[in-house]
Structure formats: structure tokens, C-alpha cells
């Protein structure tokens, strides 16, 4: 179990959270402290104030705990050896992993960097090598990963996703931070929204996208006959809006509707009926600002509803009908 009690570090202020084993995705801006959450959870730095505990112990002060944890930070450092291969060898040996470094790099498809000096790698490439080392840990106690599906050149996202799923199956606590709602959706798990240092649970419910309450589904359709598809969809009941930009995006149509499944089926049906080839259908998620605004609006509406019902209840008790 990971616990933050009024933990502050970097731009993160007085963060409270308790996470149990499983996959947790924290969606938020880096300037609000997503990277600091990973730093604190990994034990890379002590909290400026407050307490951070993993299974009741401070990761920053417990080497045994850190040995059982993996992390992928915003800025990764490799051991300043002569080559990347040697740096990987040292990292694996320090963790007590009896795995050939060549095999590790090969599996992650970054074997071409083996002979390069670590100093020649840019920040994103360093992250890739660090992720490649982390992937070798079989059953970690905790994995703290910052942007696990982005800024990792050469590394396959599928490989990482598969490993994360594997860790979760083994009972590990995996905490991923990201600023992209698309990455959050791709990662799955329990999504938390980091809003001005506070963690809000995601507001899944009747909304189309669990992390963006009240927002209708938007599908991006790629087709060579975009105008024809837009025309065909204009009469379909399940479609609430169709957008087609003939000037800038000649082969794209944005389709919006309340129900994702019905929308996709209606879209496919219309395309088949009119013989329009569809190259791709991609769900389009709003950015983090919109996500946060939608959640804030949803929470405000929930608060107002609760407040109103609380006010109405005493009135109902006072009314003569309530007494009879």
C-alpha cells in the first residue's frame, strides 16, 4: 500500500492519497506535480513536508524497499559507464538480476544503442533504457511510472502495457502518471484526476468516457470519401453532430453522439449502405484542460444537487402532508 500524508515536493503540495495494489493512473499536468508523485513513490527524494510510505516504511530511507520497486522518472540517469551495455549490466547486477544485458536491450528493440556512451543519449532515450531495465523486474512491490506510453523512443508501447498488466496480475501496485487522457484511457485501471494538488477519483457513471463526464463520444473517421460520408451521416438518428473540414482535413470526418456503441454501429452501417471505404475509426479524447473542466463541472453539479436535496428535506418534514 502506498500512502501520502500531506506530502509536498517540487510543485506538489499537501497531497493525500492511499493506493492499494492494482493499476492506478493519475491524470494531471506535470506542473501540478505528477512527476513529483513518481519521484516520491520511487524514493528518489524525500518529501519537503509530510510523509510518504510504502507498506508502512519510507521508500527514501529504505534500500530493501527500493530494491523491490521499479520506477520510470521524468529525468532518468544511467550509470556513467563507457557504453549503454555496461550501464545496463551494472543496473541489472545491482538489482541482483542474472540476465544478459544484450538480451535485455534486444528484447526492447534498442540493441543498436548498446555501444553508445550513455552521455550521448538524450533524455527520452535515457528513459527508454531505464524502462528496458525496469521491464526485467519480475514481481515488483510497486512500480511508479511517469508517462509510460510516451517519450520512449524505440520501445514498443505494447511491450510496456503487457508488462504492466503482468505486474498487476502478480499483485503489484502500479502507479502511472500522465498528462494525456488518451494515454490514461489506453492504460486502463483506476483513473485519478490531479487537480491543483488534490486527487479526485474519476467520475465514471452515465458518461460516455469515464474520465470526461458529460462529454459525448467523438469518433474521428478517416476515409477518402469524407464529403460523401458526412452527407450520409447527416440523416442518421444516433449521430448528434458531424464535422467535415474540406479545406484542411479532406479525408477526415468527426462524428459525435451520446452512445459510443450505437454511434460506431450507425457509422459502419451508413458507410456500408453507401459503399464508402473507411480506413480508420479513432476515438478522439479531449485534452487535459477540458477533462478537468468537465470533472469540475460534474462535481459542482453533484454538490449542488446534494445541497438542494438537503435543503428540501427539512422543508418536507415541516409540511403538514409530511406529518400525516
Amino acid at each position: 500500500m502506498l500512502t501520502f500524508e500531506r506530502a509536498s515536493a517540487g510543485t506538489l503540495n499537501h497531497c493525500n492519497l492511499t493506493l492499494t495494489p492494482g493499476l492506478h493512473v493519475i491524470l494531471g499536468h506535470e506542473r501540478e506535480g505528477t512527476r513529483d508523485i513518481v519521484e516520491l513513490a520511487a524514493g528518489a527524494c524525500p518529501p519537503r513536508s509530510g510523509v510518504v510510505r510504502v507498506q508502512g516504511r519510507a521508500p527514501h530511507r529504505t534500500p530493501e524497499l527500493r530494491r523491490r520497486m521499479v520506477s520510470l522518472r521524468h529525468h532518468e540517469q544511467l550509470f556513467p559507464s563507457k557504453t549503454v551495455l555496461e550501464a545496463v549490466r551494472i543496473a541489472l547486477a545491482a538489482r541482483g538480476l542474472a540476465i544478459a544485458p544484450e538480451q535485455t536491450l534486444e528484447r526492447a528493440h534498442i540493441a543498436r544503442w548498446a555501444d553508445r556512451p550513455p552521455a550521448s543519449l538524450d533524455a527520452r532515450e535515457c528513459r527508454s533504457v531505464a524502462a528496458c531495465i525496469a521491464l526485467n523486474v519480475e514481481s515488483p512491490l510497486l512500480a511508479a511510472l511517469h508517462e509510460p506510453l510516451a517519450y520512449l523512443p524505440g520501445l514498443s508501447a505494447a511491450l510496456l502495457s503487457e508488462r504492466i498488466a503482468n505486474w498487476v496480475e502478480q499483485g503489484a501496485l502500479v502507479i502511472c502518471t500522465t498528462s494525456s487522457p488518451t494515454s490514461a484511457r489506453a492504460l486502463g485501471g483506476h483513473v485519478w484526476l490531479l487537480d491543483r494538488g488534490r486527487l479526485l477519483p474519476h467520475t465514471a457513471g452515465a458518461s460516455a468516457w469515464p474520465i470526461v463526464p458529460g462529454q459525448q463520444t467523438v469518433l474521428l473517421v478517416r476515409t477518402p470519401a469524407a464529403r460523401a460520408l458526412a452527407a450520409a451521416l447527416s440523416h442518421v438518428e444516433e449521430v448528434a453532430a458531424v464535422a467535415f473540414d474540406e479545406t484542411h482535413h479532406t479525408s477526415e470526418v468527426r462524428v459525435q453522439g451520446p452512445d459510443p456503441k450505437r454511434l460506431a454501429l450507425a457509422l459502419t452501417r451508413a458507410a456500408r449502405a453507401h459503399g464508402i471505404p473507411v480506413l480508420a475509426i479513432v476515438p478522439s479524447l479531449p485534452d487535459i484542460e477540458f477533462t478537468r473542466a468537465a470533472n469540475a463541472g460534474y462535481l459542482r453539479a453533484a454538490y449542488d444537487a446534494a445541497y438542494r436535496s438537503a435543503q428540501l428535506q427539512p422543508q418536507a418534514e415541516r409540511s403538514p402532508h409530511a406529518r400525516t
Binding site: G43, C45, P63, R66, Q77, P80, S81, A91, A94
Partner: protein
């Protein structure tokens, strides 16, 4: 043990930079030039003046400060070994290894600088040259060790280990005091060892013990101030 070994290796890798080589050569060049200038000014007491004013008074402290700056990779001592700490190794053991590397380099440089100063400032025909070189070797080595420990402790203070500069300032400001016993700074101890500022009760052995003890205490305190 692995953390200690990797800490030492980390220090060695960080010292294998052109900046370290340039700093070493520059320090040696300045020391040689000043020793030669002192000899030109007056042969009597030239080695003592060169050693106390330039070699152990300015060049060695500055070089040791730079060595610790390099070893810590321009950060605080605790953060300097975070690459090893995140692999699950003990920070304190890794810090000890890192400081061992820094102390070794400072010790060697102290001995080399001291010997080079004496060899230039004193005529080669001087019969006391051999004895003087021998004495300067151990004094230089001990001074290097003392400064390494002193700046290691300084590296645990301030943002990005800027406490090193405060410690340099403290050494320069308070090290001129004749009473090494009252305020044991490396400079005061080295002055006592060279016999330049003989204070009350500052015998050669006492100064040597003070300097060695200071190096050990500072290193241990610096390690203790790091998280495990």
C-alpha cells in the same frame, strides 16, 4: 559492499572528464609558477611561503572543492548517488565509496603539489631537499585528505551542494587563526603542520591528529547526513 564498489567506480567515471584534467594541470601550473616567483623573491623561506600561501592555502582547497563538485556531479552529496540508490543500493555505502574516490584524488594531488612546490622553490643542490620533500609529501597527502572530508561535509548543505563554497569561505576566514585547536579547519591544521603559525599547544603531532580526525569526522558526518 557492492554499493561501496559502485560508489568508487562512479567517482572514477566522473573524474575521467576533460574538466578534471584541465583543473589538475592548471592547479599544478599555478603552483609551479608561484613557487618559482617565491624563489626569485628570496631563497630563504621560499618553500614555506609558497606552500603556506599558494599551494596549501589556495590551490589545494580550490582543487579539492572542484573535485567534490565533480564527484557530486554539481549536486548535493545525497543526490549524487541517486543513480545507485534507485537500483536498491544503500546510499550511505555508495556515498562512502564516492568520497573514497574523491579523497584518493585529493590526497594524491596534495602530495604532488607539495613536492612540486618544494622542488621548484628550493635549489636542487640543497642537502635538506630530500628530507623536505619527504615531509611535504605526507603533509600534502594529509592536507588533501582533510580538504576532501571538509568539502564532503560542505556538499551536504545548501541547494545543489553549494555548502561547499560556504565551507571554502569558512576555511579561508577562520583558517588563518593560529589556534587550530579552537577552530579545527583544514587550513589552520596545515598551517600548524608547516610551522608557519605556531599557536599555543599546536604541536606537529597534534595538528596531524587533528587534521586526520577532522577528515574522518567530516566524512562520517557527511555519510550520516545522507539517507540510507
Amino acid at each position: 559492499m557492492l554499493a561501496l564498489r559502485l560508489g568508487l567506480r562512479l567517482a572514477a567515471r566522473r573524474f575521467q572528464s576533460p574538466r578534471a584534467l584541465i583543473a589538475g594541470l592548471l592547479t599544478l601550473g599555478v603552483v609551479l609558477l608561484c613557487a618559482w616567483a617565491e624563489r626569485r623573491t628570496g631563497l630563504v623561506g621560499a618553500p614555506d611561503r609558497a606552500l603556506s600561501r599558494v599551494t596549501f592555502g589556495a590551490a589545494l582547497p580550490l582543487f579539492a572543492c572542484f573535485v567534490l563538485h565533480l564527484a557530486c556531479s554539481t549536486r548535493r552529496l545525497e543526490e549524487a548517488v541517486s543513480v545507485l540508490a534507485l537500483m536498491g543500493l544503500n546510499r550511505r555505502s555508495a556515498t562512502l565509496g564516492l568520497l573514497g574516490g574523491g579523497a584518493l584524488l585529493c590526497t594524491l594531488m596534495g602530495a604532488v603539489l607539495g613536492d612540486a612546490t618544494v622542488l621548484v622553490a628550493r635549489p636542487l643542490t640543497d642537502p635538506a631537499l630530500a628530507g623536505d620533500v619527504l615531509a611535504t609529501t605526507w603533509i600534502g597527502a594529509l592536507a588533501g585528505l582533510g580538504y576532501a572530508g571538509w568539502f564532503a561535509l560542505g556538499s551536504t548543505f545548501g541547494r545543489d551542494g553549494r555548502g561547499r563554497l560556504w565551507f571554502l569561505l569558512v576555511d579561508w576566514l577562520f583558517g588563518v587563526s593560529s589556534a587550530a585547536v579552537l577552530l579545527p579547519s583544514p587550513r589552520a591544521c596545515v598551517s600548524g603542520l608547516l610551522g608557519v603559525v605556531p599557536g599555543p599547544g599546536t604541536s606537529l603531532m597534534l595538528c596531524a591528529a587533528l587534521l586526520g580526525g577532522l577528515a574522518l569526522a567530516c566524512s562520517l558526518l557527511a555519510t550520516w547526513r545522507s539517507a540510507p
